[in-house]
Amino acid sequence: MIVAAARALRNGDVCFVGIGLPSKAANLARLTHAPDVVLIYESGTIGAKPRALPLSIGDGELAATADAVVSIPEIFAYWLQAGRIDVGFLGAAQIDRFANLNSTVIGDYEHPLTRLPGAGGAPEIAAQAGEVFVMLRQNVRAFVSRLDFITSAGYLDGGDSRQRLGFRGRGPTRVITDMGILTPSPGDNELQLTEMYHGVAVADVRAATGWPLRADSRIRPIEPPSPLELEALRSLALSSPG
């Protein structure tokens, strides 16, 4: 999952990175095929080159290795809103068939079953990054037919409904899960399964999805991690505390 996400980054991409899986993937890319990828963390560090994986988004290692450390208002106004981000990574608690995301609440907003952390930087990353990679473990609790709350817009009701709102960014171009990769179908932008890891069957993925999942007629296999990728992953993990 991390390796698949890392591979999707092009060398030189400017990435808006959150902590956890996205940070791992982006740093893996930086240590392998994309040495010139530029990592921007929402804490205000631009061009961070952490030697160990940071545990929080405001880790001192990020500031110490950055080209510049700027304020939070600047990161969101001068960088994200100004359209300087190529790729934004997002996670969420729930995703629907049009790649809309919920990280706010399960149940009713006023009387929630589960209160989630909330939006953070996500709504504007989803709107303004050139494109968005979503990283999410695939199961029926997460891949639902209807979100309780839209925290971040994917393709909304599908078709050109996103386009009509005049977003800067193209939206989620791939959803990377622990089973494979989903991408928006040409035309209506409903997610379809286009890539899978070895040993996963389409039926498995469908069983882990809360709506009748489309599958591409020619699903591509995802190559297993190369020795180089495994080594880079290990070196990142080893040098990290905890």
């Binding site: 902590i19 809309n100 953070g120 005049g166």
Partner: protein
């Protein structure tokens, strides 16, 4: 213009029941000691403002100090939920907590508007999301040149902002190093600013262009070594990730939380005593 005083006196003097309070610090330099002192002094009816309420607000909410929360992301970073926050929202325990919820970009813009003396901030935000439907302080404004519709949020203007910094000088100028977050704007947006610091030095002006808050805008400075623990202070000490993980267990249970607060906050006279009890060095 800046008063130097113990943290206890600064909270007693400037922080009153029912106020709008912002404690800022984005992962780095979180003013934990100040938050705990507010709980120790049992303030009530507070509106707590903060982009990322974490352990510091979990304590205040669980202790019943707050009736309203203005925020954009409320979790225990890298660990999971804030259980006291969730218990308040999901089960109104120990009392109902009203939410005013934004995104990071909007909170940052709202503080900037507050610092600028403007009534509102304009930004591109919230398109296609359910947030505006649940927060009537998210509105729209049209560009008078292009006609484009943008989001508008009211300026944040806390009664009191509290931050932690590495250094203040004897005049009251405050120096922040490393990740600076939204602290400058939060201070400038507030009526009163209190700064806890690791160290008080003769002069902080040695390097130009650092983030310096002139003493003009700093009402009180309190010398509180390790005042950001378990968060970190760049160049002083690291984040204690183990504490954040341990908090998950403490805060998950109402009784365990109440016992922890009693022992660590109410039974200790101040932050130094708390650090000794918690064996933080």
């Amino acid at each position: 213009m800046t008063a130097f005083m113990p943290l206890r006196d600064a909270i007693a003097t400037f922080v009153n029941d029912g106020q709008v309070l912002a404690l800022e610090g984005f992962t780095h330099l979180i003013p934990m000691a100040a938050g705990q002192e507010i709980a120790r002094q049992r303030r009530r009816g507070l509106t707590l403002v903060r982009m990322t309420p974490d352990v510091i607000y979990d304590q205040l909410i669980g202790a019943g100090c707050a009736t309203r929360l203005v925020f954009s992301w409320g979790g225990n970073p890298g660990v999971g939920s804030l259980h006291r926050l969730r218990d308040a929202v999901e089960h109104a325990w120990p009392q109902p907590l009203q939410l005013e919820e934004y995104s990071h970009a909007a909170m940052a813009a709202a503080y900037t508007a507050g610092a600028s003396g403007l009534p509102f901030a304009v930004l591109r935000a919230f398109q296609g999301t359910d947030l505006p439907a649940n927060n009537r302080n998210i509105r729209r404004v049209a560009c008078p040149f292009t006609g484009e519709e943008l989001a508008a949020v009211p300026a944040l203007r806390p009664d009191v902002t509290i931050i932690h910094a590495q250094q203040a000088d004897r005049v009251g100028n405050v120096r922040i190093r490393g990740i600076v977050g939204v602290q400058k704007e939060a201070v400038l947006a507030a009526r009163i600013a209190i700064v806890t610091v690791e160290e008080i030095v003769e002069r902080v002006t040695d390097e130009m262009n650092a983030v310096v808050l002139p003493s003009l805008v700093v009402h009180a400075v309190c010398h509180v070594p390790r005042g950001a623990y378990p968060s970190y202070a760049h160049g002083w000490y690291d984040r204690d990730n183990a504490f954040y993980e341990a908090w998950d267990g403490i805060a998950r249970d109402r009784d365990a939380f109440a016992r922890w607060m009693e022992r660590h906050v109410h039974a200790t006279p101040d932050w130094a005593a708390y650090l000794r009890l918690a064996d933080v060095r």
